[in-house]
Symmetry: C2
Subunit: 419 residues, 2 copies
């Protein structure tokens, strides 16, 4: 039976999801892309055709949709007979799209936590403020909802689960490290929508330390990491989605997230924040025009998609896990390296979009195959990680494990004794 | 005979001019203030009354005026019987206001060179592009027009003339140094209207070197100066109005302008310029709104007038002059020190506005007294400097001369041998 997939959103991640679904349309069936701006969906469809991404001839169609409108989304799910909805639109849409899935029985996949436009940095755990309130409804309706199935959150949640299951008797800490060691040709740019990107860093930094939530300020804590391929990199303690589910689902006292920022990024960010240019609250010009500074900033900054052709270098994202095995201390780093240029050559995307989009498409495939079709709401660490990681290795995202200075591909490793 | 004065503009400099004219209204007569926003004129008038700045009871009146409208300005000059117009409005108004003076015979004073909104950094000498085209008309009509009678341009032009006349047989170089060593309580602010302020630094830097115009980039050349009161300060070669007249009127091979900028200022400026936030060209937001980034930046930045209450520290502006006297090398520094807090206590202004406004009021007084009523168009260096500097010493701006490490007030000095 064909699943039929409805992709919601038409940005950089949707572009990747569409290509990866197209490369697997024998299993996934019809592919539909919906956004407020159907022209952007159409551009993705043209790109899929141009690059010959379709596994076999099949339906690939653009739709105009305001996904805040639950009834309209429900109608589109029914009209397209989509059994899987991949929500890679704005983070403001999650709850509406999830509701439409609950009404239709379609499976739901997303890659980022729900946000309300006027609230930045709510009380942890963030999922409990929105998505988890629908857990019982999903279970009652037998609806599969996989939350946060991008790279981070997503793949790093699977890494965390894998470490706990296969590498450690006891895990003491998980440090998720996200480094983009790529270079583009612009003075400054965000890797995705500036409006959403900057919001990540303007609130309180929440970390899970000593089995409790601890608050700090952005750029308050920094640490240098010596990483494969990208070398020594400075990263900063940052609040991030996955901490909010991992802290609840895994028995690990310390779970932290570290994001790499260049001095240049931090400087530009600091200037803009202090001037008030990152504000989502409107100001009035001397001429009486009312404008939101963050939206004007977005207008002068490069479109992140425009960076892809000139992007060089690699990303390195993974989990530093410490704990005990057979009575001995152990430390491993489970990670992926993604190459901006290679991603662009394959499907016209930079590595940031690529690493976020491939896992979402992989999750859809695992649902279609029944392996992850769990008929309830889960975060990725609640699912078996090996099928996910094995599938992605063939889709462009290979997992490696570094231990004692040696880097070994996950698939090539001997199965752990207790696996 | 009363002169009656019409002040055009209602910003920080107009505030100072109004107070200083009020302190001398026995000679100047009625004082009128006109701007597009009469409420701002009214606020200045209230401040004059509150602080008791009027020398004696007299007329002090606000008017609504679009000074781009020559006929309206002409009518207001006639209605107020103003014999002196002090133009301290936007730099875009000069040519219109000058035209109204030509039609009415009123004397004209301004403090900055004319600018066209869409042209930044025209061909030197800048005055020749606009004001000097009316030289013959002024002479024919017997209209006094004193261009650039603020501090810089203005007082520094008088310093240059004084040096050439009284201190040197031959002047080799004049370096005008403008340092604001003040501190306010905001993260970042411009000292006057951000829109105009930033325009000063986004074009080519023109300097007069080796008797010709040389072009450089902003922040390309820096130099550390050891100055009275404010100490060691770094300043950057900057284009500025006064070079464009001094180079034509004085026989000096090198005339340069140096403006002090903190590393912090340069950093913020550089980020904003590189992002495109200093652009006067409109951009379109994702929501379709058309906005000028520079106007939005102005809206988020502090109103310069709001800085005054918390401003501490001093400005130091003056001319380093090198040359020969009696066969020997000579180097002097003619300068003023102005205190932000003292200016605020006296009339509610910070020192940047104070140093720009006092000279314009002094020029008006010298016209009223007939000393500077030359019935033609001149720049300040074409006028006798000593009456101007002596008058200002009593109005809050004292001139000092440093030579061989000794600082002496100009007035206290023995008259030079050939004076």
């Amino acid at each position: 039976m064909k699943s039929n997939v409805l992709i919601i959103g038409a940005g950089g991640v949707a572009h990747v999801v569409a290509h990866k679904c197209a490369q697997n349309n024998a299993l996934l069936g019809d592919i539909h892309i919906a956004s407020r701006t159907p022209g952007k969906c159409q551009a993705i469809i043209e790109s899929v055709h141009t690059r010959g991404s379709l596994q076999r001839p099949g339906v690939l169609r653009a739709h105009a949709l305001d996904a805040m409108d639950v009834a309209a989304t429900e109608a589109l799910i029914r009209a397209t007979e989509a059994r899987i909805v991949i929500n890679v639109g704005s983070a403001f849409l999650n709850m509406s799209v999830l509701q439409a899935c609950l009404r239709t029985g379609a499976a739901y996949v997303d890659t980022a936590i729900h946000e309300e436009p006027d609230r930045i940095c709510e009380t942890p755990p963030w999922y409990a403020n929105h998505e988890w309130k629908r857990r019982e409804a999903c279970a009652a309706a037998g609806v599969t909802a996989i939350l946060g199935a991008g790279f981070d959150p997503g793949v790093v949640n699977a890494y965390a689960r894998l470490a706990c299951d296969d590498y450690f008797d006891r895990v003491d800490s998980i440090d998720i490290v996200d480094i983009n060691a790529g270079r583009h040709d612009r003075y400054f740019a965000t890797n995705f929508d500036p409006e959403v990107n900057f919001r990540e860093f303007t609130g309180t930094v929440w970390s899970w330390q000593g089995r409790q939530w601890t608050a700090s300020r952005m750029f308050e804590y920094r640490k240098e990491w010596d990483l494969p391929v990208v070398g020594r990199q400075t990263a900063y303690l940052t609040g991030h989605d996955e901490l909010h589910s991992l802290s609840q689902h895994l028995d690990v006292p310390d779970i932290r997230f570290w994001m790499g920022f260049s001095e240049h990024y931090i400087n530009v960010f600091t200037v803009l924040r202090n001037l008030g240019m990152l504000s989502e609250q409107p100001v009035r010009t001397a001429e009486g025009q009312e404008v939101v500074p963050l939206k004007v900033l977005k207008a002068v900054l490069p479109d992140p998609a425009s960076l892809a052709p000139a992007y060089t270098g690699k990303t390195c994202i993974g989990n530093v896990v410490r704990g005990e095995r057979d009575g001995k201390e152990r430390r491993i780093f489970i990670y992926n390296i993604c190459d901006h240029e290679k991603s662009y050559r394959e499907i016209g995307s930079q590595a940031i979009s690529y690493t976020a989009g491939v896992p979402a498409a992989a999750a859809a495939l695992l649902i279609a195959r029944g392996i992850w079709d769990v008929r309830r709401m889960v975060n990725v660490e609640q699912l078996p990680p090996r099928p996910f990681l094995a599938l992605m290795a063939g889709m462009g995202l290979k997992t490696w494990v570094r231990e004692n200075g040696r880097d070994v591909p996950l698939a090539a490793q001997a199965a752990p004794a207790d696996a």
